[in-house]
Symmetry: C2
Subunit: 242 residues, 2 copies
């Protein structure tokens, strides 16, 4: 949807880059040209270009122009340093999801969850445990916590489809930001069972707290990945604020 102009321009140019109509090291048309071709003001063009820059598509250079730094031919390369944030999702392996448990508990059972979601001991929370399998092997075990109050209709059906789609499309909530933390841990006995594994008994643990656009914490997630299968990719820009 997103009716605003700078998002449309962003989409159009980012598609052009991803589909190879602009290649790495190409220079985009100047802001002045883009103003003409899209028939918008310069600040609007600049908002689109800033989005492209934040998301790792281009690098703007004073006096020179906007240079494409994203290499679409690398899109499906696994081998080396992969590039780009939005694409990550697409590249992900296909997993089948199996909901192992979906139960309500009083929040006091899980002090970390209580703290992260700002709950009282007696508030009720869902605990959802899911296995993510790839070619018969469990690669990921997800443990999610939601407050029952905010998410009364949670079901294993939803849990095995897309929870986020349900949240945004059905509940009309908007997910805004999250804090993530990645660590390396030995498997617990329970995990040793959930991963019907043969390899080394270590996992990459990703803990995150997900917030809505009204800043309410909505979800506490602990995602355990088979350490040998885990890869995290990030594009980041250096902050020059001084």
């Amino acid at each position: 949807m997103s009716l605003n102009k700078y998002n449309q321009i962003y989409r159009e140019i980012s598609n052009d880059i991803q589909e190879g109509r602009y290649e790495k090291d190409d220079v985009l048309p100047s802001e002045h040209r883009l103003v003409e071709t899209f028939d918008v003001s310069r600040e609007t063009v600049r908002k689109a270009l800033n989005l492209l820059q934040e998301n790792g598509f281009i690098q703007k250079m004073k006096g020179k122009g906007s240079v494409v730094i994203y290499d679409s031919s690398m899109d499906f390369t696994v081998s080396h340093l992969t590039s780009f944030k939005e694409i990550q999702q697409l590249k992900t392996k296909r997993y089948t999801t199996l909901a192992v448990e979906l139960e309500q508990y009083p929040a006091e059972q899980f002090p970390h969850v209580m703290q992260a979601l700002g709950l009282s001991p007696e508030d009720r929370v869902w605990q959802l445990i899911r296995q993510r399998k790839h070619e018969g092997q469990t690669h990921i075990v997800d443990r999610d916590y939601f407050t029952v109050e905010m998410f009364p209709g949670l079901s294993t059906k939803i849990a095995e489809d897309s929870i986020y789609e349900y949240i945004e499309k059905k509940l009309g909530l908007t997910i805004a930001y999250s804090h993530k933390e990645i660590t390396f841990d030995a498997m617990t006995d329970e995990e040793t069972e959930l991963f019907d594994h043969s390899g080394p008994p270590y996992v990459a643990t990703v803990r995150s707290v997900v917030h809505l656009n009204d800043a309410r914490p909505f979800q506490y997630n602990i995602s355990k990945h088979l350490a040998s299968e885990f890869k995290f990719v990030e594009f980041s820009r250096r902050f020059h604020g001084e």
Copy 2:
């Protein structure tokens, strides 16, 4: 330095938040008020607020205002989910750095480096190996590669101080962005020796390619962390571009 107004406003407000003059869940003065107090236009105020939002300080809400989501009292908490990007550096443990090797090689010796930095086989590159120690224990082993041409004056002295400061202050170059990749790997025999470890024989491997603001790749870095000591923290926003 940065003489522009929105950066000054960003700095001022972010300091106010970090030093507790605004607390979590406080609402900042409205854009209209900020226009008056800083005597700038509204778009300028908005640029500062957008920066604060991208960096995890505030959440803007239509019709309501800008709410502080950053909790300064968590600044030095190690226990739980830590927050914020810029702060990460400050929180880092104190390490002593020991340069173990600094040598020039033809780029063809390191095909990955050659590819990432876009070099020819005969181009010369520095290989720099550094140990980062904390309380006598080696926690990190860094392997860095720079082209000799771009960084002729590299020395172990610089390598044990701050390379980035040298690059930006002395060479007048500006670091702009990087691609990172995190994986967990079994220690090689060499690493087993370098880390006089007791825990699990695994390392967190962070591979990155660092680019300058003219988009030239400048540095290839492989940073191996004692897996049991490794923690990566990220604040991220969900993209709603449709």
